[in-house]
């Protein structure tokens, strides 16, 4: 994964003095920002998953086309956000036919 290094570079940045905890929080934000960029521009081409920082953890939401697609996304997330607790609510699209129609007036 060619983008992996860019995401990890921020994880390795040292935090100094009293700014330490703020620096760590910022660090997660930038890692998430880079993850979002890589999900979209990388080989997954995924723009439909929302990645949001929730306190010390990260939440994933959205609907993707297949279970394989979801696994690929989770793989990239685990790699780029190593050490950050991740909660995934990614759904796979429902492919059933509708049971009724909407009547437009």
């Amino acid at each position: 994964m060619s983008n992996h290094g860019a995401g990890q570079a921020h994880a390795g940045a040292p935090a100094a003095g009293s700014a330490g905890s703020a620096g760590n929080a910022e660090n997660t934000e930038y890692r998430v920002a880079h993850l979002i960029e890589h999900l979209a521009a990388g080989h997954l081409g995924e723009l439909g998953v929302r990645v949001e920082v929730r306190g010390e953890s990260v939440q994933l939401t959205g609907t993707v086309a297949s279970a394989q697609c979801r696994e690929e996304i989770l793989g990239m997330v685990r790699e780029e956000l190593a050490g950050v607790p991740v909660h995934s609510d990614i759904l796979v699209a429902e492919n059933s036919a509708p049971g009724h129609a909407e009547e437009l007036s």
Binding site: G45, T63, A65, A97, A101, E102, S105
Partner: protein, 254 residues
């Protein structure tokens, strides 16, 4: 009444081959046409387009599509469109097509559309060349949509549908972060639809949006992105207006 099936954002690739086919095979029982509102592939490759083509080939109902931003990602949208056209799908970009449903002439005008935002919160044609080109691109799409809808009117269509990938209205984006609305649609599309007239506008693109909306001119808008509708497609029963007798000017106002 005609029965319009629609879905967008199916994002197909080799891994999802065949996933929608069982539901699509039920279309002749419940719909007269299938509209595909863009983002049919994940990356816009011809390999992915072939998966889509097989999914919608020989369904027994006409299939009309526009491409989405994902279908442009590999920078060969013409090839993606050609693969779909070869399978019998009509791919629209700035033009319309007329379908015969019994005695009813159904016109569909399509464009991918583009972003720019909505009234009071939209990008302007000003400043850097890239910024101006961004807005001009959206304007070109909207102008072509308006012309296509007007041509369909001239061809005597009983029903006209505007098919886009990007949204013409903000209502169907509800659920998406407000900050990204300018990347999800443009009021220029709604203005084109209201100027030329249409009976229904269908779009995709906004996965976290809402199905129902309306232009300020009163045209119903439906966001059929698959994550929004939660099914293989939606079906809308669209009434066909009785033609006005010669010399009539329409119903009297209340």
């Amino acid at each position: 009444m005609i029965r319009v099936a629609a879905v967008g954002d199916i994002h197909m690739g080799p891994e999802s081959k065949g996933a929608l086919r069982p539901a699509f095979e039920s279309l002749p029982e419940c719909a007269d046409v299938l509209l595909l509102a863009g983002d049919l592939t994940r990356h816009g490759t011809t390999e992915e387009a072939r998966v889509v083509a097989q999914e919608v080939q020989d369904l027994g109902v006409p299939v009309v599509a526009v491409l989405g931003n994902h279908d442009h990602h590999d920078e060969r949208p013409d090839e993606v469109a050609a693969v779909l056209e070869d399978s019998g799908t009509r791919v629209l970009e700035g033009r319309g097509t007329v379908l015969g449903v019994g005695d009813i002439r159904v016109g569909v005008a399509g464009t991918k559309g583009f972003g720019g935002g909505f009234v009071g919160r939209s990008a302007g044609e000003f400043g850097e060349l890239l910024m101006k080109e961004f807005v001009r691109c959206s304007r070109r799409c909207a102008d072509a949509l308006r012309r296509a809808l007007e041509e369909l009117d001239g061809q005597g269509c009983d029903v006209r549908i505007a098919l886009t990938h990007y949204s013409p209205v903000p209502e169907t984006l509800a659920g998406e972060p407000l900050e990204i609305y300018p990347f999800l649609g443009s009021y220029l599309l709604a203005e084109a639809i209201d100027t030329a007239g249409a009976d229904l506008a269908v779009h995709g693109h906004a996965h976290a949006g809402t199905e129902h909306g309306m232009t300020s001119g009163g045209v119903k808008v439906r966001n059929v992105a698959q994550p929004v509708i939660g099914q293989a497609f939606r079906v809308y029963h669209l009434p066909v207006r009785e033609p006005l007798p010669a010399g009539a000017s329409g119903p009297a106002p209340d």
